[in-house]
Symmetry: none
Subunit: 257 residues, 2 copies
């Protein structure tokens, strides 16, 4: 236990704050009182922690980030992104025709697409996303779920075991999500197993569509998936820089927004 009998360095205080957050969400007032510093100071500390990716501020307080390496990227900054994602999903929908065999990847954008598939007829939907699967269990479409190890963070099935099924399937159109995307390297995610599955899907699909809002472009993640040339079309929002569009077009990747 740390007894506060002298002034604390901000570094020490930040550690105490993190410790306090470990037990859940804390308000600014709570933190301010228990650390005996002004609320302004707490705010500044939290700002610093947020920049380091160790805490997430919410209006009125802050909470701990459980998976520091990953969550900041997940951080769906509110309705702005949500709107973009819906738009992207609607654009993607236009590429799907009745009777298609499509693959749906994990991720929130693709999830939106899954919710829209009710308007199509007689699809065969292959997916590794448990949430997409859940969305589709009540639909009339044929649903095929890749097996494999369940990854709680992304709610997907990933890893080498997925290969067994994928090898037996020919997918006409794959719709992939991603954590990061760069013009040089293409798709990248945080988990190598997930990257492996994405790569395999790209190989087994005639057409590959990448669904990524513009906030993801230019930010690579840890594990790179396959070759960027496997991607046929990037579906994104108008926030994508012109320069990126040009570079992608040069690589024969269509960009839609």
């Amino acid at each position: 236990m740390v007894t506060v009998n002298r002034k604390l360095l901000s570094t020490e205080r930040e550690k105490l704050i993190l410790q306090a957050l470990g037990n859940g969400v804390r308000t600014i007032t709570e933190l301010s009182q228990s650390l005996k510093v002004s609320e302004a100071t707490v705010r500044r500390d939290l700002q610093s922690l947020e920049e380091k990716g160790k805490a997430r501020r919410v209006h009125g307080g802050a909470e701990q980030i459980r998976f520091p390496r990953i969550e900041p990227l997940f951080n769906e900054k509110t309705a702005l992104h949500a709107a973009a994602k819906n738009q992207i999903a609607e654009l993607a929908l236009k590429f799907i025709e009745d009777n298609d065999t499509v693959y749906l990847d994990g991720g929130s954008t693709v999830q939106r697409l899954a919710a829209l598939l009710g308007s199509k007829r007689n699809l065969t939907v292959v997916t590794n996303s448990m949430t997409a699967a859940a969305e589709l269990t009540e639909s009339a479409h044929r649903l095929i779920i890749l097996g494999g190890e369940f990854r709680a963070l992304s709610q997907t099935l990933v890893g080498p075991m997925t290969a067994g099924i994928l090898e037996h399937l020919n997918i006409s159109k794959a719709f992939l999500g991603t954590i990061g995307f760069t013009v040089e390297e293409g798709i990248s995610t945080t988990d190598p197993n997930e990257a492996f599955t994405k790569e395999l899907v790209m190989k087994r699909s005639k057409e590959v569509f990448l669904l990524a809002d513009s906030s993801k472009i230019g930010h690579p993640s840890f594990a790179v998936s396959g070759n960027i040339n496997s991607i046929g079309t990037l579906i994104t929002d108008p926030g994508i820089p012109d320069a990126v569009v040009r570079k992608l077009n040069k690589k024969n990747i269509k960009v839609v927004f």
Copy 2:
């Protein structure tokens, strides 16, 4: 129970809402009263949750996005022999030890067992049942889902595609459900694809437990699964006729009730 001794942050409130939704559909009014905030605020929270894909709003309230409720048919059956099924599940649980690799089949009895696994540590759970999977997504156990075609009626993944993964796994204890069971033929179900998967599981498992309440005994169904001798133990209820117990014992199948 959460005691509200201070103002809640919106993040916390959203978590409480999700928790409340876990028990089914809630109306806006209910949520507003139990959280002691205005209905407008509840609506806004639900909107936010919906954008994050964690809840679905319906007219008059909201529900959690989860795996679909088991269908009526499934439900009726469940209610019918509920007590027996719970007992059977509890008996089955005693055969599971920490660190085991177990297989969970579809069916309402096995589903009960899935719900009890929280008391064990560090299991590897392999399953083809979407409802069992749903039950376990939040657990700390390692979860492996067989791939394959989704069969809505039983909410399971079945057919030849499941083989790809099963062949790579060694299961120590398999817990199977069934539609019908006879001393002569053993397990039988309505769907050949489902029978195929059950058969394969029996081959890949060191010990096979069949969970079947006594109402199923003596009633064969359409598609027979594998050899009756693959079954090591029948876990059932006291309603099982003595004659059947004797015959099974002769075949070296233990009977537990």
